[in-house]
C-alpha cells in the first residue's frame, strides 16, 4: 500500500470575466501569484520543499511563448525544479495533479506544486497564412475561443445541448440550474466561504492598479425568467449565454505531499487524495463523461456513490452536472434530484467563471474546503475536457 497523498495547501486567484480585471495581466504572473499563494499559505514558505512542478493549461497561445509554460512559471517563483506542462484541455490541471500523484506513489517525489492557469481574454486571433507572406485577397483570422471546438467536430456547446436532449433534460432546467449556480454562489459568498481559497491579486488594467479580490462573473441579481429569454448559440438547441459559463481568466494551485513528508514539515493536511482517474468516450460525449469518470474512480477504490457526501461536476455547461448526475442516478428522478442537491453546493463555473485550464483544481479545492466546513467527509470532483476526456478525483477531508 503506497503512502497517502495529502493536500497541504490550495489557493486560487479570483476569476476575472472576459476582458475584465485580469485581462491585461500576463498569465504567467497570474499563475505565479496562485503558486506563490499556495506555497506560503500554510504559514511558512514551501518553495524549497517542492520536488517538481506540474502545470496544466488548455490554450497555450494565451502566453507570449506557449512552450515550457511550467518552467517559465517555476522560474518566476524561484523554484528551480523540473516542470511538466500538460494539456488535456479542461482536464489539464487535474491531469497535472494525477501526474504528481503518480510521482508520489512511485516514490520518485514526495512533494509537488500543481498549477492550472488560463487567460481566455488574452488568446490571440490566429492566422496560418501570414508565414508565407500575404498575396492579394483576404487574410483569414480564426478565433480559437469562438466557438470552442475542434476541426471536424461540433462546437462543444452543440455537444452539450445534444447531451441534454439525449437525456431528456429540458432547457428550462438548464436555465434553472444556471440561475441556481448564481444563487448558491451568492449564498456562499455572503457566508464568506470563498475566503479559504481566494488569493486576492494586485491587478493592472488601463493603467489602474487595484486589488482584485473577488470573482467577477457571478450575476446573482439576474432572474431565471431573464436567463430563459437568451437565444441559443452556435446552432445548439438549448445552450445559451445564460446556461454556460463565460470566457474567463484565472489560476489555481495546490501543494501535495506524501503524508510523511507533510508530517515531517509539521504541516496539517487539508485533505487526502483518495484516488484519481481519467476516462474517455465517443468525442461528442462531453456532457456525460464526468459520470463515466466518477464511476471509474469510485470502482477503483470500491466506493459507492451513496458514500459520497459532496459532488463537484464542472459546469462547462449546465448540461454537464445535470446529464452526469442523471446517469449516476440511473435515470431515477428522486435519486437524481438528491444527487443534484449535493452537487456544486456553492455554485459552479456558470457563476464563478471557467478559466478552462484552471477550473479543475478550483472545483477540487472548493469541494475540499466545503467538506472541511462540514466536519469532514468524502467528495468527488469531475471535469470534462475537449473531445471527451474526463478527470475525476476523490478527496477525503
Amino acid at each position: 500500500m503506497p503512502e497517502q497523498c495529502v493536500i497541504v495547501s490550495a489557493k486560487r486567484t479570483p476569476f476575472g470575466r472576459y476582458l475584465g480585471s485580469l485581462s491585461e495581466m500576463e498569465p504567467l504572473d497570474v499563475a505565479a501569484h496562485a503558486g506563490r499563494a499556495a506555497l506560503t499559505a500554510p504559514g511558512k514558505d514551501l518553495s524549497a520543499e517542492i520536488d517538481q512542478i506540474f502545470v496544466g493549461n488548455c490554450i497555450p497561445s494565451c502566453f507570449e511563448t506557449g512552450s515550457v509554460t511550467g518552467r517559465q512559471i517555476g522560474l518566476k517563483l524561484g523554484v528551480d525544479r523540473f516542470t511538466i506542462t500538460v494539456d488535456t484541455a479542461c482536464c489539464s490541471p487535474l491531469t497535472a495533479l494525477r501526474l504528481a500523484l503518480w510521482g508520489l506513489r512511485l516514490g520518485e517525489l514526495s512533494s509537488a506544486l500543481v498549477i492550472g492557469v488560463e487567460a481566455m481574454s488574452r488568446v490571440p486571433h490566429m492566422s496560418r497564412q501570414l508565414r508565407n507572406g500575404v498575396r492579394i485577397g483576404e487574410v483569414k483570422l480564426t478565433d480559437q475561443i469562438y466557438p470552442i471546438g475542434y476541426p471536424g467536430y461540433n462546437p462543444v456547446s452543440v455537444d452539450a445541448s445534444d447531451g441534454a436532449e439525449k437525456y431528456e433534460i429540458p432547457k428550462r432546467m438548464l436555465d434553472a440550474w444556471a440561475m441556481g449556480s448564481h444563487r448558491k454562489w451568492a449564498q456562499a459568498q455572503a457566508e464568506g466561504k470563498f475566503a479559504d481559497e481566494l488569493a486576492p491579486i494586485m491587478a493592472t488594467k488601463k493603467g489602474n492598479t487595484f486589488l482584485f479580490a473577488g470573482d467577477e462573473s457571478p450575476r446573482p441579481d439576474s432572474t431565471l425568467a431573464a436567463i430563459e429569454q437568451l437565444p441559443a448559440v452556435f446552432g445548439a438547441k438549448s445552450t445559451t449565454a445564460g446556461n454556460a459559463p463565460g470566457l474567463n481568466d484565472g489560476a489555481s494551485a495546490v501543494v501535495i505531499m506524501t503524508e510523511s513528508r507533510a508530517r515531517s514539515l509539521g504541516l496539517e493536511p487539508l485533505g487526502t487524495i483518495v484516488e484519481m482517474a481519467g476516462e474517455t468516450d465517443m468525442p461528442y460525449g462531453i456532457s456525460w463523461i464526468p459520470a463515466l469518470t466518477i464511476r471509474k474512480v469510485l470502482s477503483k477504490v470500491g466506493l459507492e456513490l451513496d458514500q459520497i457526501d459532496l459532488i463537484e461536476i464542472n459546469e462547462a455547461f449546465a448540461a454537464m452536472p445535470l446529464v452526469s448526475a442523471k446517469i449516476l442516478a440511473d435515470g431515477d428522478k428522486d435519486v437524481w434530484h438528491g444527487l443534484l442537491q449535493k452537487t456544486n453546493v456553492n455554485g459552479g463555473a456558470i457563476a464563478i467563471g471557467h478559466p478552462v485550464g484552471a477550473s479543475g483544481l478550483r472545483i477540487m479545492m472548493t469541494m475540499m474546503y466545503e467538506l472541511r466546513r462540514r466536519g469532514g467527509g468524502l467528495g468527488v470532483a469531475a471535469i470534462c475536457g475537449g473531445l471527451t476526456q474526463g478527470e475525476a478525483a476523490i478527496v477525503r477531508a
Binding site: 428550462r172 434553472a176 440550474w177 440561475m179 432572474t223 434530484h337 443534484l340
Partner: protein, 699 residues
C-alpha cells in the same frame, strides 16, 4: 440637447417651451427638471408676456416620471430630493407673473405630465381627443407630484378621489366643464393660446388664488364619507400600500394647507419604495410595456397578411373580437346562424358603442370607424374573401369540428383560429385534412377591455398559422402569450383551479361569501364563487367538467358545483356575492346547494388565502412541468392580465419567488394533506427548482 427647448418670439414676447425628452414618450427625469427650471428662469429674465408649453412628440405631451431612472440606484434621500424638486419646479412656474398655457393636440398628459397642467399652467387648450389622468396607482405609486392635492382644486374632491384611486385616464372632453381646460379644434390651438395670454395678463394661478372657490364643494361629513369609501377599497387587500397612500394623501389634503400636504406626500411616497408590492407593480409595468411586446418571437414574414377576417358566432365574445378588429382597420365579417341573429349582433354593437359616445367616453368618429368595418352575414361562401376565420361558437367539440369542416370546405387556405377556452387544438383539428391551419386564439371577456390574448400552438399548427395569430393579436392591441396545446392550455386550467378551490373551501366549512371576501382580501378582483355567478354557471360547469375529465386526480369537479348546476341554479348572478360600500352582499340562497365535507378542520383566513393563491401558483407550475407554458414571463403576464391573479404580486412566479420555492412546496403539501385537496400536491417543477438550488429569483 435640452429636454425643454426655449424659444422666444421677439415680436409677441411669448415664449414657447417645447418638451422633447429622450425615449419614445416624454418623461420626467433629472434632465427634464433641469431644463424646465432653466426655461422658466429664462422666461423670467426675458420678462415674457406669457409661456406656451407644447410637446415635440406627436402622441405624448408628458407622460409621468421616468421610472427606469427612478429605480436605478434609488435611495430614499434621492427620491425625496427628486420629488421635492418637481414640486418646486411646478410651483415656480405657477407663481410666475406671466400666464402659462399648455397646448395639447391629441396628446397624452399622464401622471407628472397632468400635474404640470393642473398646477403649473393657468390654462390648457386641447383638442377633444387628448387624454389625461393620474394613473400612478397602476404602477404601485400615487400622484405625489402634487396630483392628489391639485386635481381636487380643479375637478372637485369626489371626482378627484375616483380618478386617482381607479387610475382613470380620460379624454380631455371630461375636463371641459372645468375652468382650466378649454377644448378647441387643432387648427385654432395656436391663435387661441396667444389670445388667452393677451387677455389674461396678470392672472393669478388657480392653485394660489384665494378668491377661487373649489368646484363641487361638499360638507366635511360628505368628504369624510368619500374618504372612508376610498379607504375601504384601498385597504380590503393590505398588499396595495399605494392605494392606501393615495387615500391618506387626499384625506390629509382636506385639512392641511397645500405646503404641508405636499410635505406629507413626500413621506408617503418615499415609504412606498420599501414595499415589495410597489416593486412588483413597477416591474409588471415594465413586463407589459417593454418585455411583453417582444416576448413571443415569431417571424412576421411567415404571417399571412390579414386585412379582413371572419368571426363565426356572434355572442358576446364574437362581437367583442369583431369590434376590436374593426376598430384597428381590419374588416370584420360577423357570421351567425340566421339573418336575425347577425342583424341583432351588429345592432347590439352599434347600441353599445353609441352608449360610449353619448357618455363622452368615445369620440363619434371612433364608433363610425368600427361600424364602417363591420358586416353581418350568414353566408359561409363569403369566407373565400378572408385569410383568417375566428370561431367563437359554443364550447362543444363535435360542433367545433363541424364548423371547421364547413370553413375548410368554403376556404381551405384560411387560417382557422379557435377561441375555445378549454378544447385542445389537436382535437379540434383531429378530423381535418389540413390540421396545420388550426391554431388557438383564446380571448378574454369582455374582449375590448381585457388586454390578454393566449395563442395556442397545436402540435400540428403551422408556423404560418401561429405567426398570423400572434401578429393579428398584436395588431388589435393585445398582449400575446404563446403556449403549447393541452386541455385548458394555461389560463383556463389555472383559472379552473381557482374556482374549484373556492367551492372546495365552501364545502370545508367556510361560508361562501366569506370565501369570496377573503379572496378580495388576498387581492383577487373577484371571488371564486362570484365567478360562477357572474359567468352564468353554465360555462364554469362545462369547462370544469371537461377539465375534470382530463385531470381526474387533481381537478375533480367539487360536488357543490355539480349540485348547483344540476339544481338549475344557473344564470347571471347566482350566487351573487359582491361588495357594496362596506359589506359583502350575502346571497344565502346558495347554502342549500353546498355539500359539506365532514371530518376536516375549518380553514382559517391564512389557509383560505393560501389555498386560493398557492393553488393557482401550483397549477401554473404544473403548466410549466407539462410543457404548456414556455417561460416564467408568460406565466406572470397571463395570470395577471387574463385570470385575475393579484396584480400586487406580479404573478405566480414572483409570488412563489418571494415566499421561496421550498417554503411554498412545503405549504402546498401541508394544505393538501390537511384539507384533502389533491389539486394542491406540488407540481414536479418545484422539485426541479429545489434540485437546482434555486429558491428565489425566478422572475
Amino acid at each position: 440637447m435640452p429636454e425643454v427647448k426655449y424659444h422666444l418670439d421677439t415680436e409677441s414676447r411669448v415664449a414657447r417651451f417645447v418638451i422633447d425628452t429622450a425615449g419614445p414618450v416624454n418623461s420626467i427625469g433629472q434632465q427634464f427638471m433641469t431644463d424646465m427650471e432653466k426655461a422658466t428662469l429664462q422666461a423670467h429674465r426675458d420678462n415674457v408676456r406669457g409661456v406656451i408649453i407644447v410637446s415635440g412628440k406627436k402622441k405624448s405631451f408628458l407622460d409621468g416620471a421616468n421610472l427606469r431612472e427612478i429605480m436605478t440606484d434609488a435611495t430614499p434621500q434621492l427620491i425625496r430630493i427628486t420629488l421635492r424638486r418637481f414640486h418646486d419646479c411646478l410651483a415656480t412656474l405657477a407663481k410666475s407673473p406671466f400666464p402659462v398655457v399648455a397646448v395639447l393636440d391629441g396628446q397624452t398628459a399622464l401622471g407628472g405630465g397632468f400635474e404640470l397642467l393642473l398646477w403649473g399652467c393657468d390654462q390648457v387648450l386641447t383638442t377633444a381627443d387628448s387624454r389625461m389622468g393620474l394613473p400612478e396607482v397602476s404602477v404601485g405609486l400615487f400622484p405625489a407630484g402634487g396630483g392628489t392635492q391639485v386635481l381636487r382644486r380643479v375637478v372637485g374632491f369626489k371626482t378627484a378621489v375616483d380618478m386617482i384611486i381607479n387610475a382613470r385616464v380620460s379624454p380631455a372632453e371630461t375636463f371641459a366643464q372645468t375652468d382650466l381646460v378649454t377644448i378647441c379644434p387643432s387648427a385654432e390651438l395656436e391663435s387661441r393660446a396667444l389670445e388667452w395670454i393677451e387677455s389674461h395678463q396678470g392672472i393669478v394661478n388657480h392653485i394660489y388664488d384665494p378668491a377661487r372657490v373649489e368646484p363641487d364643494r361638499r360638507s366635511d361629513e360628505e368628504n369624510q364619507k368619500i374618504v372612508n369609501q376610498a379607504y375601504f377599497r384601498a385597504t380590503i387587500c393590505p398588499h396595495r400600500p399605494y392605494l392606501q397612500a393615495a387615500a391618506q394623501s387626499m384625506e390629509a389634503g382636506l385639512k392641511l394647507p397645500l405646503e404641508e400636504a405636499l410635505r406629507n406626500d413626500l413621506d408617503l411616497f418615499v415609504s412606498l419604495f420599501e414595499s415589495p408590492n410597489t416593486k412588483n407593480k413597477i416591474d409588471f409595468f415594465f413586463l407589459t410595456t417593454s418585455l411583453g411586446p417582444r416576448l413571443v418571437r415569431v417571424d412576421p414574414r411567415k404571417a399571412v397578411n390579414v386585412d379582413s377576417l371572419a368571426v363565426i358566432g356572434a355572442g358576446l365574445m364574437g362581437r367583442g373580437i369583431a369590434q376590436v378588429a374593426a376598430e384597428r382597420g381590419i374588416r370584420a365579417l360577423l357570421i351567425d346562424v340566421d339573418e336575425a341573429a347577425t342583424r341583432a349582433a351588429v345592432e347590439e354593437i352599434d347600441r353599445t358603442l353609441e352608449g360610449l359616445v353619448s357618455k363622452g367616453k368615445w369620440p363619434g368618429s371612433r364608433k363610425d370607424k368600427v361600424m364602417a368595418n363591420l358586416e353581418g352575414s350568414t353566408d359561409y361562401g363569403r369566407l373565400r374573401e378572408v385569410p383568417l376565420v375566428i370561431e367563437c361558437v359554443f364550447e362543444d367539440l363535435p360542433l367545433k369540428q363541424r364548423i371547421l369542416a364547413r370553413v375548410q370546405d368554403a376556404n381551405p387556405d384560411a387560417i382557422f383560429a379557435s377561441n375555445t377556452s378549454t378544447l385542445p387544438m389537436d382535437e379540434i383539428a383531429a378530423k381535418s385534412s389540413r390540421p396545420e391551419q388550426v391554431v388557438g386564439m383564446h380571448f378574454f371577456s369582455p374582449v375590448p377591455l381585457m388586454p390578454l390574448l393566449e395563442v395556442i400552438r397545436g402540435p400540428r399548427s403551422s408556423v404560418a398559422a401561429v405567426a398570423t395569430a400572434v401578429t393579428v393579436g398584436r395588431a388589435i392591441g393585445k398582449t400575446v402569450i404563446l403556449v403549447n396545446d393541452g386541455p385548458g392550455f394555461y389560463t383556463s386550467r389555472t383559472f379552473a383551479t381557482y374556482v374549484n378551490n373556492g367551492f372546495s373551501l365552501a364545502e370545508r366549512g367556510v361560508l361562501p361569501w366569506d370565501v369570496d371576501f377573503m379572496a378580495l382580501q388576498a387581492g383577487f378582483p373577484q371571488g371564486p364563487l362570484n365567478v360562477y355567478g357572474a359567468t352564468g354557471g353554465n360555462v364554469i360547469y362545462h369547462a370544469g367538467s371537461f377539465m375534470a375529465s382530463r385531470f381526474p386526480e387533481r381537478m375533480a369537479l367539487p360536488e357543490s358545483l355539480k349540485k348547483l348546476y344540476q339544481a338549475g341554479y344557473v344564470g347571471l348572478g347566482k350566487p351573487s356575492f359582491y361588495l357594496d360600500h362596506r359589506n359583502m352582499i350575502r346571497d344565502e340562497s346558495v347554502m342549500e346547494h353546498i355539500a359539506p365535507i365532514e371530518g376536516l378542520p375549518a380553514p382559517n383566513q391564512d389557509e383560505v388565502q393560501d389555498i386560493l393563491l398557492l393553488g393557482m401558483c401550483n397549477e401554473a407550475f404544473w403548466c410549466m412541468s407539462d410543457g404548456v407554458l414556455p417561460d416564467y414571463y408568460s406565466m406572470d403576464l397571463g395570470a395577471v392580465l387574463g385570470i385575475g391573479f393579484p396584480d400586487c404580486w406580479h404573478g405566480p412566479a414572483r409570488y412563489v419567488s418571494l415566499r421561496g420555492v421550498k417554503a411554498v412546496k412545503a405549504r402546498l403539501e401541508e394544505l393538501a394533506d390537511r384539507f384533502r385537496l389533491p389539486g394542491l400536491r406540488p407540481a414536479p417543477e418545484f422539485d426541479r427548482l429545489v434540485a437546482c438550488g434555486l429558491d428565489r429569483f425566478l422572475i
